[in-house]
């Protein structure tokens, strides 16, 4: 926790508009934001203000209309698609409101998937995936398919999946938005525990008051800008 003041991600004057034919729908209109190493940052804001859009751009799933996103001072959107995919694979983990597990694969395989893309050594990957599943409390569920798991269990598998490549940054978009109170708490416990143990950086979009109170910093998105 030494370098908490050093900016890992620097977002500079970020713009994003959607186009419907000629009509422009500006969503992000000059977002400036720094995310520090090992920080647990919460992004809040009204529905439809552009929180998910921002998170997708930080996660390189989408390109901005204008502006820059710098990781360790590297302007990632100057990179080619393949390099971005590689970067996403190695450095970023996603957790969404909906679990987005692949229905044809078991819990273990879903967790391992991100590592299997680039690693030829399955054995080590599956061992790692198994220990992650144990960590999220699902040691009995390795060979279950997503349809055989409860909502909270699925979300915990999704968290384990986000961690398989030990990413520097974990991006979570309303990770508890779809869960009941007890499951939510279990998931939140996990996130805090992870952040304190691994020193990974977390950016969490949330409406959850409890979560917003316990994070290092909260930023609010209003009218396309950080306020």
């Amino acid at each position: 926790m030494l370098n908490t003041t050093e900016a890992l991600i620097r977002i500079v004057d970020l713009h994003k508009s959607y186009y419907d034919g000629e009509a422009e729908l500006p969503v992000l209109q000059g977002v400036d934001l720094e995310v520090n190493m090992s920080e647990l940052l919460a992004v809040i804001g009204a529905s439809g203000v552009g929180k998910s859009t921002l998170l997708h751009i930080i996660g390189t799933l989408d390109r901005p209309t204008a502006g820059r996103v710098l990781y360790d001072e590297q302007d990632i959107f100057t990179w080619h698609d393949t390099e971005l995919a590689r970067f996403r694979n190695k450095e970023i983990g996603f957790v969404f409101q909906f679990h987005h597990l692949l229905p044809e694969f078991t819990a273990l395989e879903n967790v391992a998937m991100g590592a299997l893309i680039t690693t030829p050594n399955d054995k080590a990957v599956y061992e790692e995936a198994a220990s992650l599943l144990e960590y999220v409390g699902l040691s009995e569920r390795f060979s279950h398919y997503p349809s055989q798991l409860s909502g909270g269990e699925r979300q915990r598998v999704a968290i384990a999946r986000a961690l398989i490549n030990k990413p520097k940054v974990v991006l979570a978009d309303e990770p508890t938005g779809n869960l009941d109170r007890r499951s939510s708490e279990a998931v939140l416990e996990l996130l805090w525990d992870l952040n304190s143990k691994s020193g990974q950086t977390f950016v969490i979009v949330t409406h959850n008051q409890e979560l917003a109170q316990k994070v290092d910093r909260v930023v609010q998105l209003v009218d396309g800008k950080i306020s």
Binding site: N89, E104, I117, N165
Partner: protein
């Protein structure tokens, strides 16, 4: 590639709520299999016919036949044969007198048939064509028992023996020992001005049974000495038949044979005709048939590959969300593209392998069975092909009235064609082959190189069919794919 295989093969195996896709994949597999199986079978049959024809033809006929271009008689044929036999790659050569003439039945004076008479030296001829293996009876043209007997009991002069094509003899109603009268020339008779046929009597000493239409139906073999006597051409012949170590060498050696034969300008221009020239039309027809088959079957495989494409397009639609997820996990476009290409290629591969197995087992069935494939063959082929085309057009064509109509018309035309095939199946009779080559069994010859070629072709076609859907999947926008419902 390992990751892509892992995902693609799982998608292929999964059965969840996509039974429709599974049915289409089965149809795609079936279509590819059918195309591959048919082409293997048909080509094997055509190869078999060609091979059988060549075999039969070459065992009845010399590889090269030397004659003057006006088919005139020439002297010194034994000397010329010595020189030809001294050439490399020449096994043997033999003289012959080839003519056509009319035959008279005993005690009639009307020409009953016109046949080809080949006057040969039996010992030399046997080295070139091996004709004696096809003779049912004696090959002793001058002193056979039957000739002796005929000379004893008849008051006519007997010139010698003749071996007649088996079918010709049957047509003329002749048995061994009968006398056949050949027309030598038309001469002036005792009454001034009246013309009489000058006839020679031959005793039928054997039948020629080669199962080649031309020989069995048209040929009469006599001794060259008798032929020379009949035509008054002592010590002359009009053709030299040559056998080579390898029939395929004929075109190269033909001109050398012309050269060493040593004809002077006065004697005339020599021409050495290869067996290929003699049968060019037939083999050309077979080749055309083969090309047509390959083209048609390639089209069938292409139609089947449309089904693969539409299967994939639907899979991509169904898996859009998964594609989004895989992209968030860091799959590149290349990874996504390969997943779907592998999935389609596996379908193509299964179809190709099944088709090869099916085609080869059909070959085996037909070659071990004397049944002709005619009716059921056409039926078995036509129905699935039609279904195939119909389904493919339904899937691939835009869902508009005009196109739908076109698909229905196609189906109707197809059904019509199938019915036509049922009533009048495409067969060797139509090809004119049964006239030349009397088949007792389907000739089948599997060319392994061709089987490999058609496998490769099928795989390439299927692979091409995967490109567009895979490219589509690769270009899905991650965020939109993720939010796809």
């Amino acid at each position: 590639m390992k990751f892509e295989w892992f995902v693609a093969s799982r998608y292929l195996r999964s059965r969840r709520k996509q039974s429709f896709i599974s049915i289409i994949s089965i149809i795609s597999i079936g279509g590819v299999a059918l195309g591959v199986a048919t082409v293997i079978l048909v080509i094997a049959v055509l190869d078999g016919v060609e091979h059988g024809l060549k075999d039969r033809f070459l065992s009845n006929e010399a590889h090269v036949v030397l004659s003057l271009i006006d088919y005139g008689f020439f002297r010194d044929y034994q000397k010329r044969i010595k020189r030809i036999e001294a050439l490399d790659d020449v096994v043997a050569a033999s003289p012959a007198i080839l003519t056509q003439t009319g035959v008279f039945r005993e005690r009639t004076d009307a020409i009953q048939d016109v046949i080809v008479i080949k006057g040969i030296d039996p010992a030399q001829e046997d080295k070139v064509t091996g004709f004696s293996t096809y003779v049912d009876g004696s090959t002793d043209f001058l002193n056979s028992e039957l000739i002796e007997k005929a000379r004893l009991i008849r008051d006519e002069t007997i010139t010698g023996g003749i071996i007649l094509g088996g079918r010709l003899a049957a047509r003329l109603g002749i048995i061994k020992g009968d006398v056949l009268r050949l027309l030598i020339k038309i001469a002036e008779g005792p009454v001034h001005g009246a013309l009489l046929p000058d006839l020679a009597n031959f005793v039928v000493i054997g039948f020629y049974e080669s199962e080649m239409e031309y020989y069995d139906n048209k040929l009469g073999l006599i001794h060259i000495d008798s032929a020379q006597k009949l035509y008054g051409v002592k010590e002359r012949a009009n053709s030299i038949f040559v056998r080579l170590t390898d029939a395929e060498l004929a075109p190269r050696i033909a001109t050398r044979i012309e050269d060493v034969a040593g004809f002077t300008v006065l004697e005339g221009m020599p021409h050495a005709r290869t067996w290929m020239e003699a049968q060019a039309q037939l083999f050309w027809a077979l080749r055309l048939e083969k090309i047509a088959t390959i083209v048609i079957e390639a089209l069938i495989i292409i139609v089947a590959s449309f089904n693969i494409a539409s299967t994939l397009i639907m899979t991509v639609m169904e898996k859009t969300k998964d594609v989004g997820t895989l992209r968030t996990l860091g799959s590149s476009r290349g990874n996504i593209m390969r997943i779907f290409m592998i999935q389609g290629s596996i379908i193509g591969m299964i179809g190709t392998i099944l088709g090869t197995a099916l085609g080869l087992s059909f070959c085996w069935l037909l070659s071990s069975n004397t049944a002709r494939p005619a009716y059921w063959y056409a039926f078995v082929l036509a129905v699935p092909i039609l279904l195939q085309i119909f389904i493919a057009t339904q899937r691939v064509l835009p869902n508009k009235g005009g196109w739908k109509l076109a698909a229905w018309i196609l189906l109707l035309v197809g059904v019509g064609f199938a019915l036509y095939c049922l009533v009048r199946p495409i067969s060797f009779v139509d090809l004119g082959l049964s006239q030349i080559y009397q088949m007792h069994q389907m000739p089948i010859k599997v060319n392994w190189l061709f089987v490999i070629f058609i496998n490769a072709l099928s795989l390439v076609i299927c692979w091409f069919a995967t490109l567009y859907p895979a490219w589509q999947a690769a270009n899905l926008k991650p965020v939109e794919a993720l939010q796809h419902e």
